[in-house]
Amino acid sequence: MIALLVAAPLLGAAVLLCGGRRLDRVGHWLGTALAAVSFVIGLVLFTDMLGKGAEDRTLNQHLFSWIPVEGFQADVAFQLDQLSVTFVLLISGVGTLIHLYSIGYMEHDERRRRFFGYLNLFLAAMLLLVLADNYLLLYVGWEGVGLASYLLIGFWQHKPSAATAAKKAFLVNRVGDMGLSIAIMLMFTTFGTFAFGDVLEATGETGEGKLTAIGLMLLLAACGKSAQVPLQSWLGDAMEGPTPVSALIHAATMVTAGVYLIVRSGEIFNAAPDAQLAVTVVGAVTLLFGAIVGCAKDDIKKALAGSTMSQIGYMILAAGLGPIGYVFAIMHLVTHGFFKAGLFLGAGSVMHGMNDEVDMRKYGGLRKYMPVTFVTFGLGYLAIIGFPGLSGFFSKDKIIEAAFAKGGTEGWILGSVALLGAAITAYYMTRVMIMTFFGEKRWEPDAEGKQPHPHESPKSMTIPMILLAVGSVCAGGFFSIGDRFMHWLEPVTHHDHGDSPLSAATVTGATMVVLVIGVTLAWLQYGRRPVPSVAPRGSLLTRAARRDLLQDDFNHVVLVRGGEHLTRSLVYVDHTLVDGVVNGTAASVGGLSGRLRKLQNGFARSYAVSMFGGVAVLIAATLLMRAV
């Protein structure tokens, strides 16, 4: 049953990718259908899980022994508990919607079939990731989603920028994967196994140092996958991919895998405070980093990417808080999945209407032309800034509370950072909203000189947007009324309320205040006066932020250049030094043979002499042997 979850989209991927052109017409429907199938299966499993008691809700399915080697057992086995089923529903649900959306979005692309193949591949890998019952199998899914995102970011391969972005994404992820594999090795040497159950139970039996090491390695992995500082640089470029991809992979699901990993290995972090601290720090830094970047970008998708970064920063932060925060991390993850996917789909719809123009400074006043998009996008906007009653409000506030609840100076610092982040979020999201939908038209003809004729997108695109909007409105409330979600996850994440220095009401109030501040600031800057259609030079910070706070430049100078020089010099060394030695030998041999060559004067008789002499020597030898 569980295996079917993974199998269905996998089958889809195989069929779509291998079965040539004849599938072009039905391909996208097949892909969508299979995604829906796994969603339905997910629902079924979910419902009968609800039927059971809180404790025996964990399902296990052992398929076969994968790598049986002396003292090393890796199995292909699945584990379905509350945590993973939550992810399953999110992934397959949002996934299905986005499949639906892409049918319209990719209509004019002749490689649509392959696109759906890749999407299915992604679903399969992602489901494998959350369903695996041991770290090695998780690693498979982990790399699988990396591959899928590589393929999808670089889907328009004829654009060099896309190809480069894809490569960059995969490489940065690979660095993170290194962390994961080292973590697995550590687990193996420490516990002799890497199945979730055994490892997490055995945490008590080893020293904190080992656990800290494992935790840090896991954090590295999470940073890579979830675009956290210092491995965040790939996410912005990843927007080169088609918008549905950005929505599904780089907003809703894949990038949250890091959070899943940390929450899943909660026991390890609980036992290693230093690692936890590192996690929170990373989360906090990324939270601000992403938010700042988001403020400066004029490319709508990049702005959203920045916001994704910072929202995941929230989740990581929460996950770093330990049992206080796990639940809220997941909760925010789910709600964020809804509204951020909605926002991206909205952005896609806008681009769809604007000849794939991404520069917000060339938008403006679109609310009249694409009402549905406007409304859904607006709801998503309200949700993300945490407008009271919408899902973002619940999840984010809880995180901020938890941050304060961490206690001590850390608590204060983290909490205030979270608040600041909330303010900035409000600011940049308002900016996006205004620049896109309000103000006067700033449309310009695109490269081919086509004047954009903004129009509402087809049904197949609007329906998913509507559904997601509904999700982003209701999810938060539904989860947190009576702490449903908390109780639901408790058996896995063991929630406990910290001792918050501030009451929940205070925190909410503070959040509201910063929210208003952010919005008004944005309104003053973009709503009141007209938006220049070419970006002003801006302050130093702005310029830095436009360039992802110079992170890429750093990478380029240090890693790329350095690497190039290293390889070049190595090639040289290999060719001269290492090779030279051998050529020396070869030359000497050549000289020797040249000298020997003189013996071969071509006169039959002198050859005969040598032969004769040889025979004589042989006879002499034999005689001597006899004599001896």
Partner: protein
């Protein structure tokens, strides 16, 4: 002799051995040292005959005969034939061209001989049982029985080998004629076209006192003409030039005549300087003079 060969080696055989062996070795040495191939061949033939005798002495009557018939009879004749074909008197200079070759060769040969001697010396060959038993049914029969029983396969194969050799020899020596033979007319025209020697080549010895093939005929000025000698001889450089000697002994003769008749040599112009045209008549006159003198005595 049968008995001898069969059991012991009689003193007779000893004598025979020592004498003939010396001759054989000398022959062999001559074979490799003679400058002319013909001489080498003859020496070798001699050595082989001696070997034939030794075979007989060793009770290998059949082989002895075969040795004489096949080797000295057929093979050596074949050699001589080829030698003739290639050039009888073509004496290749024994001067060595490859540096150190000769010394190395000699050294090797010498050392080799010594080694073989040492080997034979070491070998335990003291007792020997003669061929009496083997030969009692007659040597030839004995051989035959062996050849056709034990060695029959080898025999067959050698037969095949001989056939192959014959064919091979024919293939090697037979020259394929690629184009039609030219008719006499064509040859004549060709010669005219080349524009040399429309008339047939001059015969050798013409205008000279000899007419052997290897003597060049003399041109009117007394110098020999290459054309008159066969090309093969020319290539081998076997032309005897007699132009000068003819004149020389003519001069000598006249000198004698002059002495005899106390004629001042100056009376008659020196043949060397006087025209050659009448030189043919002088001896006649001289001879007449002598005869008259003798008659007068």
């Amino acid at each position: 002799m049968t008995a001898l060969a069969a059991y012991t080696t009689s003193t007779g055989e000893a004598v025979q051995f020592w004498v003939l062996a010396t001759v054989a070795v000398i022959g062999a040495l001559c074979t490799i040292l003679m400058r002319k191939a013909v001489h080498s061949a003859l020496c070798l033939a001699g050595t082989m005959i001696i070997l034939a005798v030794f075979y007989l002495a060793n009770g290998a009557y059949f082989l002895g005969i075969v040795q004489i018939v096949v080797y000295t009879g057929a093979i050596m004749m074949l050699f001589l034939f080829v030698v003739m074909l290639v050039g009888v008197t073509a004496a290749d200079s024994l001067k060595e061209t490859i540096k150190g070759q000769r010394w190395l060769a000699a050294l090797c040969g010498f050392g080799f001989a010594i080694l073989l001697f040492a080997g034979i010396g070491n070998a335990s060959l003291k007792d020997f049982n003669g061929l009496a038993k083997a030969n009692e049914g007659g040597n030839v029969e004995g051989l035959a029985s062996l050849i056709f029983t034990k060695y029959v396969f080898a025999f067959e194969i050698t037969g095949a080998l001989l056939i192959t050799a014959t064919v091979g020899a024919m293939v090697l020596t037979h020259r394929e004629r690629t184009e039609r033979a030219k008719t006499q007319r064509e040859r004549a025209e060709e010669r005219v076209r080349e524009g040399k020697h429309l008339p047939p080549l001059p015969a050798p010895g013409v205008y000279a006192r000899h007419n052997a093939v290897d003597i060049a005929g003399l041109l009117p000025d007394g110098t020999p003409s290459e054309l008159t000698v066969n090309q093969t001889l020319r290539e081998r450089g076997q032309i005897r030039d007699v132009s000068s000697e003819a004149l020389n002994d003519l001069r000598a003769l006249e000198q004698r005549a002059a002495d005899r008749l106390e004629r001042p040599g100056s009376v008659r112009p020196d043949t060397g300087r006087s025209g050659e045209g009448d030189s043919g008549s002088d001896p006649v006159a001289a001879a007449a003079g002598e005869q008259t003198e003798e008659a007068s005595k």
